[in-house]
Symmetry: C2
Subunit: 482 residues, 2 copies
């Protein structure tokens, strides 16, 4: 069976054949590092992380490049606003600080690092080279007001609009911040002339004068620098289709590059359908989400809708994800407790032969992770039934190995060291403490019921000495670390 993928440009599900057998080159649009990462950033990163892991599981060498846009109107604006309020952080310091926030958030939900994470500001020469090529080929021109700006000549490129199936006549004007000197309002900036109110450090020399790159040319330059002039997959959020990806495609192909063979777009996150809690806020920053949910549960949740669908966020959908994930986790714990041997996910990568055929079929069908998760839950149910019936039988072992293999493919094995003490708490010291304290609370309850207050007080004192406080409620006794 072939890998099938939905290609935005073809508006169809097509066979995927890597350009070079056994190798996949992927470029994913990373963040503009202007403010803290939110749920949409996490989802996009997660989508391409699971796709990349699937390609690896099916025997491909994957080179994933995810850029950082570290020069941009909004970065300069945010830095200026903070400086006017008394701050001293330069725009590049802000960009770096936010880049670190993104790295932490990605790491927290188990996103594998890309092969490289180029910064736009580190690729200025490569961008200038493409702009020069476009001018030489008659697809770009220096601004007609004499400034250093350079625009892509949309009228010169008949294919313009092919990605989003728009006719140029019906397109909106390009939203450049200072659209002066253009021949046509739909033309977009490749190079933006330096403006006096901006920091000089945010401009670079070029054949046309000081300035900085347009957003779109950044990705064209970074993708081809690290993946070559033609590569397999370009991914990004659905909101980037137009104008960003349309313009990338136009300028790169107009420059003579094959560029991306396939365009993938992930759906957005809908957070508007439900009232959010105060603790989460409506902005749903990664930082808040990671306080509200275990990172592995957040990862599970982010993968719970098909990558092309809208992901509906609500507190209840997050809770449902937690409950669903805990069913999987509970099965692994039960299996381990009954002596079922489970491969260490760090040692043996999963091989496609060990996975249920329905799981493989789902993933081959445009990375249908929700269907794949359904197969996983079916195996968990069957595995639990088998444990009930006959303990650690060969069939239980087979099912547990399948579950572990599917989890590994999806980056969701709670035993993976990446989850640290969060997921390792399943079976670790926290569980032991909870079990022990719960048993002692029960013993104390029995002693009190028998009016043996000496024993019940002794238990309370022993717990207190260990730093554990009890609080008797009407129906139950709760405990907490003092």
């Amino acid at each position: 069976m072939k890998q099938r993928i939905y290609d935005t440009r073809r508006q169809d599900v097509v066979d995927f054949e890597p350009r070079i057998a056994g190798e996949v080159g992927m470029y994913v649009c990373g963040p503009t590092v202007q403010s803290a990462p939110h749920i949409g950033h996490l989802r996009s990163a997660l989508v391409y992380d699971q796709i990349r892991r699937w390609f690896a599981a099916t025997g491909h060498r994957v080179t994933l490049i995810r850029n950082v846009t570290d020069i941009d109107d909004k970065i300069l604006d945010n830095a200026r606003i903070a400086q006017e309020a008394g701050g001293s952080e330069p725009w590049w310091g802000l960009a770096y600080r936010i880049e670190r926030d993104f790295t932490s958030a990605y790491d927290a939900i188990g996103i594998l690092p890309p092969a490289y994470e180029p910064r736009a500001t580190a690729n200025i020469a490569e961008m200038i080279a493409i702009v020069e090529l476009l001018i030489a080929r008659g697809h770009a021109y220096q601004a007609e007001d004499g400034s250093a700006s350079v625009y892509f000549d949309t009228g010169s490129w008949p294919a313009y609009g092919e990605l989003t199936r728009q006719r140029r006549e019906q397109m909106e004007d390009a939203a450049d911040s200072e659209p002066v000197g253009k021949r046509d309002p739909r033309d977009f900036a490749l190079w933006k002339a330096y403006r006096e109110h901006e920091p000089e450090s945010a401009s670079w020399p070029s054949p046309w004068g000081r300035g900085r790159p347009g957003w779109h040319i950044e990705c064209s330059a970074m993708a081809t620098r690290y993946l070559g002039e033609e590569f397999d997959i370009h991914g990004g959020g659905l909101d980037l289709r137009f104008p960003h990806h349309e313009n990338e495609l136009a300028q790169s192909t107009a420059a003579g590059h094959g560029f991306a063979r396939h365009w993938l777009h992930n759906g957005l996150v809908n957070t508007g359908g439900q009232k959010m809690s105060k603790s989460l806020g409506n902005s749903l920053f990664a930082h808040d989400l990671l306080e509200a949910a275990r990172p592995i549960v957040l990862r599970y949740f982010l993968g719970s809708a098909h990558y092309r669908s809208v992901l509906e966020f609500s507190e209840s959908s997050l809770s449902e994800a937690a409950a669903a994930f805990e069913r999987i986790e509970g099965f692994l714990e039960r299996a381990a407790a009954q002596g079922v041997p489970l491969a260490d996910p760090a040692v043996s990568g999963p091989t496609i032969e060990d996975l249920p055929v329905e799981f493989v079929a789902a993933m081959l069908d445009d990375f249908a992770v929700p269907q794949a998760l359904a197969v996983l839950h079916t195996a968990v149910r069957a595995g639990n039934a088998e444990l009930d019936r006959s303990g650690g039988s060969p069939e239980a072992q087979r099912l547990a190995a399948q579950v572990a293999g599917m989890l590994a493919v999806l980056g969701l094995d709670p035993r993976d060291a990446v989850w640290g003490s969060d997921a390792a708490s399943a079976g670790g010291g926290d569980d032991a403490l909870d079990a022990l304290v719960t048993a002692l609370i029960e013993e104390r309850r029995a002693a009190r019921a028998a009016k043996d207050f000496a024993t019940s007080d002794a238990i309370r004192d022993r717990l207190l000495a260990a730093g554990i406080a009890l609080e008797d409620g009407p129906n139950e006794t709760r405990w907490s670390l003092a």
Copy 2:
């Protein structure tokens, strides 16, 4: 009292006056990302982190720039060797992966992130600009063999040798990998001509032809790009004094830049004096050290010698550091248990007024951290005595506040969130579990001594049910999580 610092160029302790009152610009030579971080890298980062924190505590706005050298002979060699062994990682992927290792190691021991971490490959244009300036000023020349290489003309710069007090006549030849076309063997490369056996992606266009920068010019360009043509402090390991820092100084001043006002050098780590354990290995990689010691203890250890002295590493010196740090930690725990209020280090930064004058004097005297730690331990001893004598008295509160303040300045407060569950285990769930299990083991021992085997077995079963296994030895019973 003034801040005093040892300036390598002046070979003397001098008054430190920032170039702009209240602001400190520091450039620190970061790693060449060719292989995993080791103890020497951690020590260097720690030294400048504590200096930077001290400047911040004394009211300065610090801009610390620490670079990443991500293009270098050794990076290219290591990538090529791995490719010849069947790997597919390009040199830039290797550099990025190792850069991430360094970031993790720095984060683990609480090194604050720099204001910016420039990569050499992102500053090629700035390097070329300095080389052009040097040629124009008569201090550099294109290789006489007609290649694209450019060399600094050491004979043209009378001050050459000033940093390390060497006369040019007595200097060694520069150790460039392909020293062809030089006028003098002591001249060093500013730009290295592209060589056919290297990947083309590791070369950039320049006015002299394709090539890559020399190591020294990288730091000259990155320091001035982010800190300006003149800045306060340049730091790095003692092994970098010559030729790296000598050459940086020569080329930057020859280009007309004021460059660093002061040069600081940290001493190296001696790991040869002692036989190392197998688990650590003789290479002392950060990864192994972080397995062998709690990160906060490793940080304490790395700061336990004066920054200009050799730090002697041995297992026993690491154990001594652990014991010393635990005395501090124990005092904080005792104080908290006795109700002494301690400021949250995350909320209130320490102010110099709250610190013992001896501590302040030590830090003002060329950042004498070992003396500062001695003051800290004196306060801990006095604090413990006060707790013994009168519990949480005002004097105990004053001493505890001083201890917390000194720890905050040094980045060593175990309650700081940066240490996560590692240091938080002081007083957390792990301690409660240990206390509880130890009490139950003692109860079981007493029951067995009284031949009450029903009780002793019941205790063992209750522990087992909570996932805790006991192992009876000749003198004691150990426990572990099953």
